[in-house]
Amino acid sequence: MTTKRKGKLNFTATFSIACVLLIIALMISILYGDAKIHLTTIFEAIFDYNPKNQQHNIISEIRIPRDIGAILVGVALGTSGAVIQGVTKNGLADPSLIGLNSGAAFMLALTFAFYPTAPFLVMMFAGFIGALIGGFIVLMIGRSRSDGFNPMRIILAGAAVSALLTALSQGVALLFRLNQSLTFWSAGGVSGTTWNQLMWAAPFILVSLVIIVSMSKQLTILNLGETLAKGLGQNVAFTRGITLILSMILAGIAVAMVGQIAFVGLMVPHIVRYLVGTDYARVIPLTAVVGGLLLLVADTIARMLGEAPVGAIISFIGVPYFLYLVKRGGRFS
Amino acid sequence: MTRLKGEQVTIGYGDHVIVDNLDVQIPDGKITSIIGPNGCGKSTLLKALSRLLSIKSGAIKLDNADIHAQSTKEIAKKIAILPQSPEVADGLTVGELVSYGRFPHQKGFGRLSAEDKKEIDWAMRVTGTYDFRLRSINDLSGGQRQRVWIAMALAQRTDIIFLDEPTTYLDISHQLEILELITQLNKEQGCTIIMVLHDINQAVRFSDHLITMKNGDIVADGDTEDVLTKDILEKVFNIDVEISTDPRTGKPMLVTYDLCKKSYSEV
């Protein structure tokens, strides 16, 4: 029963390094692309924007939104995963494995079917509702007899619910002759991100993040086990409820923005816990930064490889890491 | 006479050694009990002797041939085992489970021959389980269930039967039921029985031969009268005992016991 295990590294140092890396990655990403752009041009674009300059346009209309989108999605998925792992005490949880992704996708399919011109806000909301439905079913079935959740039941229920919701999404897509092919939402890509989407998504993501960070002490205590947390006077149902709902909001928005991307919420919290320990006041902020960094880097690589789907790049690292975790016993940290 | 013996046997998992360089001989036609504190290796030894566990070094010999060199089916015709508290699927009937005991004798598709059916019926009658042969095992009481497992072992028609803690989860009357059945089998069929028991008095009363183990070693090995002594029990279980004679059986029995004084002061 570990409460706060000290990680390998000093938190402030690690956090700062991560932020710096993020900024560097951002720079590199903006610089790289079919159209060669100079470093100075970026500064010009930000501070002295000239709408007639084509390079400025590329930067501001395509690259920056895309990159910020990638970062935000990474933040959302990473944080969501960290919260879910903490609440379910299951080191192998990830928004995609507990039905959040497929739930959001299903709701989005329905939205497209009945409301094809839906504004992004509606899509985000649909994503959230879908994630909520999927996650709720999975977690309900995943409750174990004694306190807390049974990891295997969660995984199994997650697989079944995902299969169901994916089948339903495909059914809806076929029935309503939605032009999105059956693979839409399944691959995951950041490339279409617009300022409009960011405008709506960013506040929700950031506010959720802030609330979760403010509850990090509760999360750390909840990690001791339900019975103990109650014994210490915590309102377990409330803590669990709020944090899980927030994690579903995050996942839902992520899917609305970019489709289904898996394994980010799985890998990042593990890496972060390894680095700085299990104190949630540290884990959450760092997970956010590292998550953003990971997705940004993956997206840049995807771009370099000629627009390969970002989800695939991440799976490439995510799956072996997942197998390694299972082999090791899937322990919490 | 001993058909089954272990020679310089070492058993363990990975780097962890449970039994180290042990010699043991199981007397034929007798009831042998293995007793000892938790973790002493008795279950491990039992499983190794019945070839369920592989050994790191040494040899387990049955009729002077290494047990691991023989085909597992052939061994199953000579040795039967009842593992600790086995679970079964819902809906499995008594008759069905007992019929599994005929597996080593079956060829091909596994249809039951007339001989198989004869043995199964016999096994069930001897253990008093014939009347519920169509009932689901999970519906029976603990004692009845154990008798069914024994029936399966009997249906194998082996000379040697191993039982791993056959009475541990039963109440006292069921425990006695099983132990008396085992005694009967030994007397009437001449089966060699080896069992792991927790209750020292039960072990003494119902066995001819006793093996006591501690930390993977055999501390004492011989007739029950010879092994049940104050010194040996102190060494094995860290208890200080009073031994008297059982008024009904004439065998030695523990009247009372306490933890050895030493254990408290050694902090």
């Binding site: 059956l182 799976s315 197998l323 | 990975g14 597996f103």
Partner: protein, 338 residues
């Protein structure tokens, strides 16, 4: 030693199910874009039908029907074996990612391999098997723990992860495909029964004819494997060898099935469970039933899909998932211990 009542139940159930399968087939073959009445259907069967009817029935619908029946049977059987050998009542090739593995290798083959149109169909089951077996190997080796062997828990964990990864991988490969290939893989992943010529039947049938009877013969061993490990060992079952061979056969069977019928999950779960609830857990009793139930379910699901959305139809895999997944969840809900 089987309760004679159960044996009778088995017979009745088998007869009723066979009738159900036949009825479902009749329904299926008379539905679809090209309407055929029941009368015309029967006339064509006995060789007295009109030219177009005969063409459609004999060259397209009948072979497709045979494929569907065989695939349903194979998937149910495969699921039953995997469940018994791994002692995990919720295991089946779909959830464990074995289907996804087959799909991934098929996708790979389409991208990389020289697709010789004539032989493609016959090679497909083998390609699919390679994928399925490799995936199974990965799953079993990664879920193996020195102390406890392969626990159901770790097997499921790795399986689910692999499923996610492999279907993602297939989708990735798809982005390098052209339109047609892309659509093929997409509908394959959704469980669209695409085998509709006699060539497919010829490619698939041998596997079914050989593997299913083999598994039926092994019923006794399966019964024993399903009890405790030490009991099976105690009566002389070569556990290690039997497990590996049986699992291998089960994976080969399901891979062959999905190669011609698309990635269809849950049949491997529904078939065995329903069969067991009728006649109990004895393999001699429930396996034949599971096979029939599997066949029936797939035919039924496929027909429902065809009827709901014309002309293209909803892939059978989707229909099965929509029914199968809730059933699976219900089973989980009821089994407190998993």
């Amino acid at each position: 030693m089987i309760d004679p009542k159960l044996k009778r139940k088995q017979w009745y159930a088998m007869i009723i199910l066979t009738i159900c399968v036949l009825l479902a087939c009749a329904w299926s073959m008379t539905s679809g874009e090209y309407k055929m009445s029941m009368g015309a259907f029967f006339k064509t069967l006995i060789g007295q039908g009109e030219y177009t009817d005969t063409l459609i029935l004999m060259e397209f619908r009948l072979p497709r029907m045979v494929i569907t029946i065989l695939a349903g049977a194979a998937l149910a059987m495969s699921g039953a074996i995997i469940q018994s050998v791994t002692r995990n009542p919720l295991a089946e090739p779909g959830i464990l990612g074995i289907n996804a593995g087959s799909g991934f290798v098929i996708s790979l083959f389409i991208v990389v391999g020289q697709v010789d149109a004539d032989n493609f169909i016959y090679v497909l089951p083998i390609i699919s098997m390679i994928g399925g077996v490799l995936t199974a190997l990965i799953i079993f080796s990664f879920s193996y723990n020195k102390g406890e062997g392969i626990t159901p828990a770790s097997m499921v964990l790795v399986g689910v992860g692999m499923a996610s990864a492999l279907s993602g991988g297939s989708l990735t490969l798809m982005s390098t495909f052209d339109e047609d290939q892309s659509e093929f893989i997409a509908s394959w992943l959704a469980g669209n029964i695409w085998g509709d010529e006699w060539a497919f039947v010829i490619a698939f049938l041998p596997w079914v004819i050989v593997l299913i009877p083999y598994l039926l013969i092994k019923a006794n061993v399966l019964n024993l494997l399903n009890t405790h490990q030490h009991i099976a060992q105690g009566v002389g079952v070569k556990i290690g060898r039997e497990r590996i061979v049986l699992l291998l056969v089960a994976v080969l069977l399901s891979s062959a099935a999905v190669s011609v019928a698309g990635a269809i999950g849950f049949i491997g779960l529904l078939g065995p469970h329903m069969a067991k609830s009728i006649v109990g857990p004895r393999h001699q009793l429930f396996l034949p039933l599971a096979v029939l139930i599997g066949a029936f379910l797939l035919v039924f699901a496929d027909t429902v899909g065809q009827v709901i959305l014309q002309p293209s139809g909803i892939p059978a895999g989707i229909v099965v998932a929509i029914v199968g997944a809730p059933y699976f969840l219900y089973l989980m809900y009821k089994t407190k211990s998993v």
